[in-house]
Amino acid sequence: MSEANGFEPKIIAFCCNWCSYAGADLAGTSRLQYPPNVRIVRVMCSGMVHPNLIIDTLTKGADGVILCGCHPGDCHYLDGNLTAQKRAEAIDLMLEDFGLEPERFRLEWISASEGPRFAQVMTEMVESIKGIGPSPYVRRSD
């Protein structure tokens, strides 16, 4: 596959069990379409994802990472999502240190009822990563 015209990014979405993962489930049961470039990793809360895990994911094969949690006030664990939001600033700085574009990491709030929003956010993320191209860390065999 040539990268210029057929770049298919790999995107990892960390979804919290209580809202975003259920939102993804709803997108599925509602038969909504979104690009197959997104692969979901379920976590209990967005506050469970260590900044190192995000950076590791981006340096070992992912072109983009999206962290999804419940809307502020809705986190199943009171305020784990707000802790995740505070960390997002640190993650942005780490991206810079690693020479990665800020667009490669996103934090989004998606509730269990927002199936359409899940599909939309994932579609946007894939489009945005297609726009900036493959991660400099990815060695592609294809």
Binding site: V41, M44, H76, Y77
Partner: protein, 196 residues
């Protein structure tokens, strides 16, 4: 609509036929719109249960867990869920009561297994993880080991809910959540990326 001596004549547009019909009726009963309660949002935040975009309560799964919430011990029925008939509400209420009874009939409840665990070898007692814990489940302790004072954190198994905020805060891999160890998460990422 026109009222005459022999009843009502109602002119309605039929969306299927795309034509106007004239119906003769004795009475006209309008079904008012059902709107969610105003304080639903407050209740939702207090019980940690989700609402739909329309403002009704949202079940854990529309097919597999239709009267449960994702939050344990909270169940739903009736119009809080969605507009429905009285008989549907009663059936759902009986279901919700039965679900609640399965919890109440137990002498003891088992604690959640997916809670955090401290790795004493890695934890140096820096206490970074203590303040972010949403449930105040962590305390700093000191103990003697080989003639030296060591510091570490201790997790209260009844308070910890396994959110993992501590794990993602710790810079030294001193604490993890069972089933969500850093290695396990990394393995999931590897598998998803196909680089394993």
């Amino acid at each position: 609509m026109k009222a005459s001596d022999d009843g009502l004549r109602i002119r309605v547009r039929d969306p299927v036929l795309r034509q106007f019909l004239v119906l003769e009726a004795d009475a006209l009963v309008l079904a008012p719109a059902i709107v969610p309660p105003e304080d639903a949002e407050e209740i939702a935040q207090r019980f940690k249960v989700p609402l739909t975009a329309d403002g009704f309560f949202l079940e854990a799964h529309m097919k597999l867990r239709p009267i449960d919430f994702a939050t344990e011990g909270v169940f739903l029925c009736g119009m809080a869920h969605a507009p429905k008939t009285v008989s549907e509400s009663i059936a759902q209420a009986m279901g919700a009561a039965a679900r609640a009874a399965t919890l109440l009939s137990k002498e003891e409840l088992e604690l959640e297994a997916t809670i955090s665990e401290v790795v004493d070898a890695n934890c140096d007692g820096c206490a970074y993880c203590i303040a972010p814990c949403p449930y105040d489940a962590l305390v700093l302790i000191e103990y003697m080991y080989g003639g030296e004072i060591k510091r570490t954190v201790q997790r209260n198994p009844a308070l910890c809910k396994g959110c993992g905020v501590c794990m993602a805060t710790c810079p030294k891999q001193g604490i993890f959540v069972r089933s969500y160890r850093p290695e396990q998460l990394a393995a999931m990422v590897d598998a998803a990326l196909g680089v394993a």
